[in-house]
Every structure is written in structure tokens, then in C-alpha cells.
């Protein structure tokens, strides 16, 4: 095995957070922490490279392929680099009825990119999302998977884009 040691890929802080997630499950069920571990690793690295996923596999004692299976199944894991800010807009029916398609069009027009594209300066990646379970607050944007922005009118989107430096 010539794979780099996890501690050369992930920070001590990330590894400590993964340990904390592992502790939630029975000692022989470390696999259960794989989603948390991948989330922590992605937050640190910006996206999940094979090297990062291999590090997660080592930490949890899982075959790398089992980790890849999980990372490729769940849509919020990024298997390619994304912009500094990833904005995911839900355009599903309830949101669309409340202005989400307008929000999506406004984002595309203002940024000059389509879904799954990144601005030339590498600042913003735009994604189309599926139901985030927040339809009442539509239009809803998810910023870097972790921050939900509600009732995003074109004016609020303009303000947001100014703030995302």
C-alpha cells in the first residue's frame, strides 16, 4: 500500500471531527460514519478527489470502492472541483410556483453561466437542486451545502452576489 496516510490528506481538526461522528455508532459499525466523514472532508477540501476518498476509507477501515459508492450516490458530494461558492437552487414544482424558476433564470443571466457551470473567475458554481424540504420559504438557495437562503427575490440575489467575494 502506497496510499498516503490520512493525516497527510486531512487536517487534525477534520480527523477529530470524524472520530466524533464515529463515536455515535456501535464500535464495529464505523461504516455508518462514512457520510459524515465525506461531508467533513469535502468541507475542508472543497470537493472529493480520489485521494480524499481514499483517506476517508483508511480512517474508517472501509474498502475504497465502498466509499466511492456512497460518494457517487448522494448528490451533494462534489466529485469534481467547484467554484469557491456553490449555489444550488431548487426548481421543483412547489418552488417553481413561488418564483424559483425566475430566481434560477436571474442567476444564470447575471452570472452568465448555466447549471453545472462555474464562472470564469472560479468564484461561483451554479447547480439545480431537487427538493430541499423548505418549499414554504421558496425560492430557496443552498450555499456550499450548509447554508440555506430563503425567499430569494432577484433583489436579494443581487445583494448576495455582491457579498460573495
Amino acid at each position: 500500500m502506497n496510499a498516503p496516510l490520512p493525516n497527510s490528506v486531512l487536517s487534525a481538526e477534520a480527523l477529530a471531527r470524524i472520530d466524533k461522528a464515529v463515536a455515535k455508532y456501535p464500535p464495529d459499525r464505523k461504516d455508518s460514519a462514512v457520510m459524515a466523514a465525506l461531508t467533513i472532508a469535502q468541507a475542508e477540501k472543497g470537493w472529493l478527489s480520489t485521494e480524499t476518498m481514499d483517506a476517508v476509507a483508511q480512517v474508517l477501515g472501509m474498502p475504497p470502492v465502498a466509499v466511492y459508492e456512497v460518494a457517487t450516490f448522494y448528490t451533494m458530494y462534489d466529485l469534481k472541483p467547484v467554484g469557491k461558492y456553490k449555489l444550488t437552487v431548487c426548481t421543483n414544482l412547489p418552488c417553481a410556483l413561488q418564483g424559483a424558476t425566475h430566481a434560477a433564470e436571474h442567476l444564470k443571466k447575471t452570472l452568465g453561466i448555466g447549471f453545472n457551470e462555474t464562472t470564469a473567475d472560479g468564484r461561483i458554481t451554479l447547480k439545480e437542486g431537487e427538493c430541499m424540504g423548505a418549499c414554504g420559504d421558496a425560492p430557496v438557495l443552498l450555499q456550499n451545502n450548509h447554508k440555506m437562503l430563503c425567499a430569494m427575490s432577484p433583489e436579494k440575489i443581487d445583494q448576495l452576489l455582491k457579498e460573495l467575494k
Binding site: E69, V70, Y74, L97, E130, G133
Partner: protein, 437 residues
């Protein structure tokens, strides 16, 4: 976390709320919950040494039915758990809410997290379970973090963990997050995911009560179901039943979205007329006429306005009207909406979210989506409508889990009620209504 604009002075869930009574959007902490009488049901059970079977009986009396979509009687489900089973058993809460139109569990978690924690602890007590997990939708990350904070508060106060309130009863509860997969709301897919795998549903039987998390007996309930438990213990199953109507006990949180003035969550008594719910949501946005309603989340059959306006919001009434109450997600569409375009967005969703395990769903959802897409874009063929219905029929009932049915039911209901609009699209290559994005 953006707060919705409170539609009422005081309780943001409406005047009939019991589970979310007193919730303002800013009083989620333990001290606030205790001030509302929180954890008194747990204290009552432990101090009076109420036998676990009495707790289950109280739930049976309440006629509480699963709030996640299936409407299965909760007391009956709890009685399936083999209480004397000699190994580890698990209690799981399904907070993986991602059915388009549904956003009630998010509000329970962010505004009233302790009521869920108390409900789950009582569930553990009633079924002799010592470990629980709450699986939270990955997209509501800040809510997941708040729930973790609430768990810490409950542990520090002695309500959760080892030897709860000084008794011999222990219960550990942990939060687990998803990361973008609608299918994990299906209970066995959720268990797979919780075990660290792809969320692909399991064959049933065996049911989770005998083979669940890590192969151990497991009870899974929805967030709102657990949240109803403390009130039932405090006030009695009969009182809960009396809030609603026979076989449809209690209140229910309805998530109302779409073309209404005030989208949001409203907790009303089961059996309340739809017209009243619509009124609570401020009526139709800009007063545009109602056209159609999906009454129970995107996978449930759509109903035309005139049927909805004559229907009450409870399991049996909505079933009688030809749809299902499901998760209580009410998607409202006005007369400017194109039914083909609306179905197209839903069909894309099921195509995108099919886990790929069963052929009828994996292939069929794509087939449905592509057919609706060509009808919407003026390329529909005369034979498409019968083929749509046929493909939907051949998915329904032929897959391991209900996602196949969820993809098929909207197609068949949209065709049943709005076939003329689909036909118009094919004949005239455009919508009946004015185009919109």
C-alpha cells in the same frame, strides 16, 4: 435560517395547534420547552412507573397514524416491537423530508426540537429500546446542527443518556445526516444509508421490526409522529382522538405551498375543510382562481379545484376524494398553470431520484419524463397519452419500494383529470394557458 413571516399574532402554526402550540420561531431552547410544559410526559411516565404497554395502549387509543405518508397506526407499529428480544434494538426517526411540497419536519426540528427528543425517549421506554438515531435531510444542515445542540441540552439536563432522571432507564439518541437522496426517505433505504451504504431499498419482508438497522429489530417513525407522543401521554389518547375524528385522531401539520398568499405550515384538526386551510394560508395569491391541488405531497394524485373545495383534510376524506393525505403537503396551483408543465417537473424529479435498483422504475421514470417532455415541447404524438398511462401502469406495483408508484401516480392522475390539456398540447403544439417560465 430564514423565518417565515408569522401569519398570526402569537402561534405561527395557527390557533388550533397543540403540538406546535406557543411556537413563535424563536423559542426552541430547552428552557423554553420546559416553560411550555416540556418533558412533563417523560417525568410522569418515570415517576409514576407507568408500564410500557400502557404507553402503547394510549397511542392505540389516540388513533395517531404515521405522519410520514403511509398513515399506519402508530400504536400498532409500536406493539410489533418484540419487547423481550434479547439483543440490541433500535429506534429511528425519519427526518429525511424531501418529498416536493413537504417541509413540516424542518419546522419541528428548528422550532421545537425537544418535543421530538421527548417523543423518541418515550418511544424507547415503551418498546424497551436504548439507542436511537434521527436521520435528518442533508439539505437542512443548519437545522441538523441545531438538533445536535438540542441533544446536548437534553443530555446536560439528565433527560437523555444514562440513567434518565435518576432512574434505571437509559436511552442514547444521535443525529445522522443525509446528503442529497430523496430515496432515503423510504425507511429501508434510510436504514441502508444509516449503515453507510448507498440508499437502496430492501425487500420487505422481513420488515424493520424484525430485521432493521444492523439486522436488529427496529422501529421507524416520522418526526411529526414522535412529536405527537408527549401530548398524548399528558392528555390521554382519548383526548387526542377527540381533536380529530374517528380513525383520524388528532391534529396534523399541513405544509401548504404554491399559488397561495402565505405558504407555510399550519397545524389543524384532522377533518378541517380544505377551504378553511386555504383561508389560513391567506387564500389564493393575488386572488387568482384555484385550478388544482396535490393534497399530500408530489407523489399523490392531483385533484381539481371543485373536488378539493368539497373535501376535508383527513386520511379517509382525501382517500374518498381520490387521492391520499400522504405527508400533508398541499401544493396549490392556480388557473394560469399548465398541467403538462407541472407534471413535467415532477416526472423529472422521479427520473432524477430513482435509485436505479429496479428496472421498471429506473427505465420507466426516464421514459415517462421524456414523453411528458416532448408533449410539453410540441413534439407529442397522438399515441403518447395511452403510452404514458401504459408505462405508468407497468411501473406501479412492480418495484421493491414505493418510488415507482410515486412516479406513476401523478402521471395517471394528471391524465385522468386534465387529459384534454395534454391532448391540446399534442394537437396545437402549445399550452392551453399563456406561457410562463
Amino acid at each position: 435560517m430564514g423565518l417565515p413571516i408569522p401569519p398570526f399574532a402569537g402561534d405561527i402554526f395557527g390557533p388550533d395547534a397543540v403540538i406546535m402550540k406557543g411556537i413563535t420561531g424563536a423559542n426552541w431552547r430547552l428552557k423554553d420547552y420546559e416553560a411550555r410544559g416540556g418533558y412533563s410526559a417523560l417525568k410522569k411516565i418515570l415517576s409514576e412507573n407507568i408500564p410500557p404497554e400502557n404507553v402503547v395502549n394510549e397511542l392505540k387509543k389516540s388513533s395517531l397514524r404515521g405522519r410520514g405518508g403511509a398513515g399506519f397506526p402508530t400504536g400498532l407499529k409500536w406493539s410489533f416491537m418484540p419487547r423481550q428480544f434479547p439483543g440490541q434494538k433500535y429506534l429511528v426517526c425519519n427526518s429525511d423530508e424531501g418529498e416536493p411540497g413537504t417541509f413540516k419536519d424542518r419546522d419541528i426540528l428548528r422550532y421545537n426540537p425537544h418535543i421530538l427528543i421527548e417523543g423518541m425517549i418515550i418511544g424507547g421506554y415503551a418498546m424497551g429500546i436504548t439507542v436511537g438515531y434521527n436521520y435528518i435531510h442533508g439539505e437542512i444542515w443548519e437545522v441538523y446542527e441545531r438538533f445536535e445542540e438540542a441533544l446536548e441540552e437534553a443530555r446536560a439536563a439528565g433527560y437523555l443518556g444514562d440513567k434518565i432522571l435518576g432512574t434505571d432507564f437509559s436511552f442514547q439518541l444521535h443525529a445522522h445526516h443525509g446528503f442529497g437522496a430523496y430515496i432515503c426517505g423510504e425507511e429501508t433505504a434510510l436504514l441502508e444509508s444509516l449503515e453507510g451504504k448507498k440508499g437502496q431499498p430492501r425487500f420487505k419482508p422481513p420488515f424493520p421490526a424484525s430485521f432493521g438497522l444492523y439486522g436488529k429489530p427496529t422501529t421507524i417513525n416520522n418526526t411529526e409522529t414522535f412529536a405527537a407522543v408527549p401530548w398524548i401521554i399528558n392528555n390521554g389518547g382519548d383526548a387526542f382522538l377527540a381533536l380529530g375524528k374517528p380513525n383520524n385522531g388528532g391534529t396534523k401539520i399541513f405544509s401548504i405551498s404554491g399559488d397561495v398568499a402565505r405558504p407555510g405550515n399550519y397545524e389543524i384538526k384532522l377533518g378541517t375543510p380544505f377551504s378553511k386551510l386555504l383561508e389560513m394560508a391567506g387564500g389564493m395569491r393575488d386572488g387568482v382562481k384555484l385550478k388544482a391541488v396535490i393534497p399530500g405531497g408530489s407523489s399523490m394524485p392531483v385533484l381539481p379545484a371543485e373536488i378539493m373545495m368539497a373535501t376535508d383534510m383527513d386520511y379517509d376524506s382525501i382517500a374518498k376524494a381520490g387521492s391520499m393525505l400522504g405527508s400533508g403537503a398541499v401544493i396549490v396551483m392556480n388557473e394560469t398553470r399548465c398541467m403538462v408543465k407541472s407534471l413535467l417537473r415532477l416526472s423529472y424529479f422521479y427520473y432524477e431520484e430513482s435509485c436505479g435498483q429496479c428496472t421498471p422504475c429506473r427505465e420507466g421514470t426516464g421514459w415517462l419524463y421524456r414523453m411528458v417532455d416532448r408533449i410539453e415541447h410540441g413534439k407529442g404524438r397522438p399515441e403518447d397519452l395511452d403510452m404514458l398511462d401504459n408505462v405508468a401502469q407497468n411501473i406501479q406495483g412492480r418495484t421493491i419500494c414505493a418510488l415507482g408508484d410515486a412516479a406513476a401516480m401523478p402521471v395517471r392522475a394528471f391524465l385522468k383529470h386534465y387529459r384534454d390539456e395534454f391532448q391540446y398540447h399534442i394537437d396545437h403544439k402549445k399550452c392551453v394557458v399563456a406561457p410562463y417560465i
